[in-house]
Amino acid sequence: MSDWPYNPDADPYRDGLARGVILMQTCGACGQVQFPSRVRCIHCGAAEVTWTEVDGAGTVYAKTVNRRPAEAAFAALVPYAVALVDLDVGVRVMARAGVAPEQVQTGGRAVVYPDPDPPVLPGLLFRPVAG
């Protein structure tokens, strides 16, 4: 996509979303997952970071309902919820709700998944799950 920022750290992540999977970096030395991805591990500095598929299960840390679109491509979606979701693998992600805003509960369990039809750029959606 032409608007995708030049960010070689994130190319595998973007390509993963296109295939329907969430890829993140795991450190070959200390074993920690890091997100966003970087040139080396921020926990131990090691250069051996490998890309692995992560599970999208997590907990909604905070949510908001956007009553106005951030840009024109989101106009048809208003109102839509956006949340910070703390994944069980130990990282936080931002994702838009794939369900109506009323269904989103702060503190509730959720699953994050690649947006099959992203309005502007490849990204993440989430939906609440029974927890």
């Binding site: 995708w4 994130a10 009553r67 951030a70 956006v82 910070l84 838009r96 503190g107």
Partner: protein
Amino acid sequence: MTYRPVSSFVGVAESELGTVTGQTPLRMMASATLDALGEAGLTLADVDGLFTAGMPSWSPALELADYLGIRPRYLDSTDVGGSSFEFQVASADAAIAAGLCTTAVITYANTPRQDRHIAQPPRPDPTYIFRDTYERPTGLLSPDIGPYALATDRYMWEFGVTSEQLAEVAVASRHWAAMNPKAFRYGKPLTIEDVLASPLICDPLHTADCCLITDGGGAVVLTSHERARDLRTEPVAVLGFGTAISHGTVTVSGDLIRTGSRVSGAAAFRMAGLSPADVDVTQIYDSFTSTVLLTLEGLGFCGDGEAGSFVEGGRIRPGGAFPLNTSGGGMSYCHPGRFGIFLLIEAVRQLRGECGERQVANAEVALAHGTGGNLSSSATVVMRKGSVDE
């Protein structure tokens, strides 16, 4: 070893505020700088330290120095959002202590309202790689209200703080603004019901939970305590400061509601040898109503989750026990993008006893706290009126 600040505020000034015409940030910063120097009896020739942030320039400090026609030996254009000028008080004091400069000007101006009416080529949005890569795809209203709305939601969820309690911050600011003729909302009353009836933009934040967008600028002058004694204005001494960052963009945030103000406030009080109970008048960055409540808790004026009830009952309104944002703040006085400079200006004026109808009686100690970015950067400055013997 405890660091002891060496400098005093000796001049403060605003530029034209509100909705300006025929202005540029450079013109406004120069006007405010000359007025702030002038009240102290200083001139541009005395300025050997120059601090600025937020001007959309290839090099803000160089461009401002050119415009002022000065060649300061110490420059700082650290930009961490609206708290930049509280951060720069810390840097300026340290530079004066180290002998790297003797007289520092900190200044800011911007014209977001005027810009809506001027035909000029659009500026590209500034980039921030994590936001552009991971947040833009979600459609969060960003960089301002969305992240603050997320923090506010979390705050309400953890502690049961209500929209009415948040609204009190906006309403109290309007009461103070009623006594500040320079305030953008001067003579425009506001009630809790008005705030709750204003449109939601990013739940749980309504339009009236948000700061203003106005034009404006300001400047403050700092010099050594020793030099300050010989100038025209009554000095206001820096007693303590502290700075902290918790994240840049919220994707990499930790605890969004226990902000960096915990670190910066504790450091500032420790340096000053004071506690929250010693503060007579407080200026806290009010980008959103929730920013103020989170900061009151972070600075230790009340406990976790208690700020909502702390502000009730008129405590932060004129005549209340806790005079807060006495200019009317970013909610009701002005907000040209980075409000931190105005927190310092109002704190100094209150300690000098120059605030007329809104003057807090017998104010000896003031606190100014800036919050910048997306609750990202925090800086606290504690100050006391009068000269300090070195």
